[in-house]
Subunit: 410 residues, 2 copies
Amino acid sequence: MTDRVLDGVTSDPVAMGWMQGMPPPLERRIVAAHADHMRFPTNRYAYSNMREFLPTLNVARGQGAARALPVALRDDIDAIVFTPLGDGAPVRWDDGLIGNYTDGIVVLHRGAVVYDRWFGVTGPQSRHIVFSVTKSFVGTVAEMLIEQGLLDPSAPVVDFVPELARSGFGDATVRQVMDMTTALDFSEDYTDPTSGIGAFSAALGLTPRPPGYAGPQDLYAYLPTVAKAGTHGERFTYRTCNTEVLGWIVARIEGQRLHRVLSDRLWGPLGLADDADMLVDSAGTPFAGGGLNPTLHDLARFGEALRLDGAGVIPPAAVARIRAGGDRAHFAQADYPQLPGWSYRSQWWISHDAHETFSARGIHGQTLHVDPAAEMVVARFASHPIAANGANDVLSLPAWAALAEHLQRG
Amino acid sequence: MTDRVLDGVTSDPVAMGWMQGMPPPLERRIVAAHADHMRFPTNRYAYSNMREFLPTLNVARGQGAARALPVALRDDIDAIVFTPLGDGAPVRWDDGLIGNYTDGIVVLHRGAVVYDRWFGVTGPQSRHIVFSVTKSFVGTVAEMLIEQGLLDPSAPVVDFVPELARSGFGDATVRQVMDMTTALDFSEDYTDPTSGIGAFSAALGLTPRPPGYAGPQDLYAYLPTVAKAGTHGERFTYRTCNTEVLGWIVARIEGQRLHRVLSDRLWGPLGLADDADMLVDSAGTPFAGGGLNPTLHDLARFGEALRLDGAGVIPPAAVARIRAGGDRAHFAQADYPQLPGWSYRSQWWISHDAHETFSARGIHGQTLHVDPAAEMVVARFASHPIAANGANDVLSLPAWAALAEHLQRG
């Protein structure tokens, strides 16, 4: 990134003309071989069109009826004013959306759509990559398996995936993987191509591999190479490789690949309205840690199901375990100054605030935020220039809180 | 290919275990980088799962209701016996399906499903590549545009695509492209990687490019390089590049890419039940000549619409022009000994037989066969080891004729 980054208006992908024209002129193309699909500002087009650039699997909605989402739009939300984290000047709600490079946002209150906005190339039918929000879908399924007695969270990972015996996961438990308290030689620094997540991405094939690349060719070839560093179960450290292991466990238990598990366990039973796309590696393995591309309304429906204790599909006890959160002392050892007192549980972020809010979070601003006290769900797609969510939390977290307070007032 | 080719039973992709296991063992993987998805016998899995290996666009069905397909299955079809082309011994209908490496087949009689069979990994929800059957969708849309006065078939191609002025298409008309009577230096020999279709495929990126490839990077960069060879309008020669040009014209007129045109013009109005996948090149151009992956029932619905004079969606005059066929003398100059007296019109194959049958045909056995006299539509997916349809016509054409006769008897 340069010092001067296009803002939320000037980076609008329609205004910039990405992929417009038949064919688009060379300077307006998004070329996967150049990794344009993962780079700002071309990501503002690409994140709503990932299947155009990469192989994908279909997460099928099944043949049933979609769960209705009543619409009761309100016109009093854009004028909400909130104070950003830190010492920023007050910001209007609608300006905050631009400030965070929002591609789409839907707010449910008591189950009805009270607000939606679409930007750039993104609309209600867009399947937008949600990156690590994917993890929360996987964690939810894992909790469902626990509730059914099919998965013992205290069992060793290697009971399900013996291929990992000699890796850093060799003496980890399922719960440690679910709550990301494993101790591994794996850094999640998105700005460092030599980090663990860099090697992970090369194995996955999300972007072109370096010339002469001789590393692992797929996710399940990569995971056994992750070494241990420290002692499991002592602290929370966010590492995407944990979710690939959890996805592997879930797929082994269910006897089918993760995209079909999500379809059978969640998409069909919850009445999600549209198919989703899921990124896949060269061995046919769905990218459990970040490959899901749902519609925004389906993301909101999923959040609403969590708000409603599982909506008759996810066992209430499974939802309760998620919402109760993880070990806050473990979380406090990680460096999240904007998330004081939070914890991480079963691939969800738990705030432990007065509203007992909890969230699914993905890089570049993907968010599913559930506020039980305010009976509110916020689903947001974004394409922020900065991957780490610390960059957008400054505006996002106080915006959600101000909206909740506003809706509670009636 | 070797002298010994697996037969329709031994090449079953489930029996062969392709992509089974999490992860599949190396010897059971289908790797796009090795072109496995386009090679027998791995194609028997891949043709029903192309989006797992290649980037795709979504052909959206829209939000309306699907057109109902009544089901009235008959149990007297498998025992039909027919005589293969040439001097073969009589063959049972169900044995013929195996002989032609069928992946799925649906037969409509008077609009109802009277027969269906599924093989290997292919089922009613599978989106199977139909290769050049795609062309007939494009040609149908072109005829719709002609009927609306938006496209003059006698106009020069360059009126719509000036980029082709210096190519072999520079003095061709739209009709010559539609009916493939252009004279071009382009061979459609699928077994010769140095042929025109080989260079075309490299530009498209359907399979990995040779090391050091420095040719065109996408379809619309390739088409202007096609040279003229002979005189347009004198004979039919099957060349896929014509359809890319037609798709380009259609997209220019409609002001949107072809996958959206197909969605708006056909998928939505015809009430097709499911989205389809469409292969796309690195410039975002859908592969008009062969990139469509619909469900088999939707393919059958499209054929039924053609049988019913457009079903209120395609103007009857457009359908009539297709069904009337093209110039039989032009066709006779091409080498199709199994298709005597046929013609090619607007990207459809017209038999001019007593039943006035017409077909959409794609390599490896993809077929949409319409028999107006017998009120019959046959939609078939296949993964024959040999690309050219001459290999499966030996069994297919007499099978369709015998079935038509059988259904006509009541």
